[in-house]
Symmetry: none
Subunit: 222 residues, 4 copies
């Protein structure tokens, strides 16, 4: 495996094309032949630059992970002077943008989505370098909103509830377009979603805090 980040023209062309095709077709359906043909390079170049198909996939993943982290760091726009609620709003916007924006980050989102349902060795890297730091930041924000006395488990579950809402639009995109054919996800919809998820989640977090449904139920029965 060649880890040199040399700005080789061939190497770049392959990475670029492979990113698109892996995102479109998935790892196993994508063929190195197709990638090379579309990239306009010889088929043996993959072996030379990346060792094999797996090596290419790894390189592509790391490349877009890097770009994604640079373009949309988890703490994008967040600063310490903000209220936790504002931080959450910023976090969600950043999260959604990273997932759904056009261009490379969107490819990266697609690649990640595939890794979720078809985890490979690559998922370990993604979890370590991208997912865990991001989730860590979220739990801190949620923790701050819920208050220090909140149990870690509650923080975790609430964080998952927030992430789940965001990811829904990444994972279930094909379903959503089938359920609601007119639906699309441009800049405007991202804004709308950001506001909706933030609002929904803040209410979910703020009121009752560590009351779960069982307790709510009891209250209601009264």
């Amino acid at each position: 495996m060649n880890d040199k980040k040399t700005a080789s023209k061939t190497r770049n062309a392959i990475i670029e094309t492979a990113g698109r095709i892996f995102a479109e077709e998935g790892y196993s359906k994508a063929t190195v032949r197709d990638i090379c043909r579309q990239a306009g390079v010889n088929i043996a170049a993959i072996n030379y630059h990346f060792g094999d198909k797996k090596g290419l996939y790894l390189s592509v993943l790391k490349h877009y992970q890097e770009i994604s982290l640079k373009t949309y760091p988890p703490d994008l726009g967040i600063n310490e002077t903000q209220q936790p609620e504002e931080k959450l709003h910023t976090y969600i916007r950043s999260f959604l943008t990273r997932i759904m924006d056009d261009g490379h980050p969107a490819w990266f989102g697609r690649l990640m989505a595939r890794e979720f349902t078809q985890p490979s060795w690559a998922l370990d890297i993604l979890v370590k370098e991208t997912i865990r730091p991001s989730f860590q930041l979220l739990t801190e924000i949620v923790g701050a909103i819920l208050g220090k006395s909140t149990k870690e488990r509650v923080v975790r579950l609430c964080s998952m509830s927030i992430v789940g809402q965001c990811l829904y639009f990444m994972h279930s995109h094909p379903v959503i377009t089938r359920l609601y054919p007119g639906e699309s996800f441009g800049r405007k919809q991202i804004d709308e979603l950001t506001d909706h998820i933030t609002g929904f989640s803040l209410r979910g977090l703020l009121e009752g805090k560590n009351k779960n449904y069982s307790e709510v139920k009891k209250c209601k029965k009264r």
Copy 2:
């Protein structure tokens, strides 16, 4: 394509094994050779019973869809005497159980998860016969909770927020086990999750109702 539901031993063995392997490997990585070997039948049996690999996949999907719908109908345990909030609680429990319970329904969940990120012609069938009816029921419950005057779009977004939370545990299962190695999803955890998601969502729904974040923000700033 042989649509007969004949209880052929060979046919059943194939469906059984194929379901597991498709769920484990995905459609393109799964090989009919492997399926047949593990099912202990001759490879030509697939052609005889299902026409081809696609036909087998379709049959597997329909088979488990049927079982899943029979075992966990969307309206499982819901009756008209319940309050909407109770209905939601029941709905979420049923949803989570269907997704995460051990055995066949779990395979079906895995198969669906794959269809989400790698939609094929099969997704159209799933949306029509399984997903849309289920989502329709949820929007009705959410609509009842939010009140009749609520805009359709708000109902839709809130429903998605709820579904998103539930699906997170289906889609992101490999991630969760990597983030929190000890985590598991047995009966007990499903109960916990059901209560959490219901509580979180009811608060998200009840308070402020059609107020979105922008308005919340303004309120806060005051």
Copy 3:
């Protein structure tokens, strides 16, 4: 191999259908599954009635050979009172009709055409039971026209010239329709061809008789 000529309904249906399909598709491209499906019988019937595909093919060939010989015997319409020239005319008409007429004999002609270019063990039977007697009759007619003193080899070559003309329309049918798209071979064209071939051949036979081209050439040069 079951040689019983029992008028089994199943057996007849298979023979009938197989004849058409073998003629249309050729032996190797024709499949027993297709034959059985179109004949409306179970696939195992072929094994039962004919042993295997080869046995079926042989039975079909013999069946149509029999019909063909009964419908158009080589000496059809020829009687001893006719002049040899008239006999030739009758022979050619019979030959062309057998080859190009619609219905079963035409299928048989197609099957024979295939055997010519893709000879199998079946060709030996055809040569023995159908082709040789027919060719024998022709050589007798040609011999009578050429005179008793003609060398056997000359008779043979002339007979081949006549047969060659007739077969051309069997073998080269696909080519003729491509060269002359309007061309068709109905009853009327068979009459025309019969007259043409007979005239052409009689002139070829009668004049100069055993003079071959080399001698003609010498004559011409004088």
Copy 4:
């Protein structure tokens, strides 16, 4: 489909072997596995060089067509100073040689024979590039012999009579060797056949010209 005429060793070996096997077995019975084994190359080479079996067949056909046309052009040895009768003699010799000579042209003849009875898309190419030009030349010669006032249809039928005689030895080769086991077709026999067919045909053409059999019959009856 790779149309490059690169003199690749592998590519040549495949063409060579495939020509023989296609001629021997026919398109559908010939297997790419067998061709590759006999050619001593890997099976994937066919995909690389010719795309698929169809592409290989086309390439084989075009290759031998090219060789055949180069070695035995339709107008081989014909020059404008010749009398039409001499042209016909030359044409027939060339035709027979092309069909029956040992080596590649003979394979090509066998391949063409198969296309005649089992026409595929390849026949269209053969008709366009090989058959039609050749037939066109023959009709011109025949037309010159018959005279300008002769109807086009008579010219056509007479040309077919000549072609039919020549092709007989291509198509019916397996039959001839069964009828007359001693028969062979070497250089000497080709000479003999050329003289016979030319003489037979010239007589068929010259005498009576546009008289058909019906008229001949009437004459005779007088």
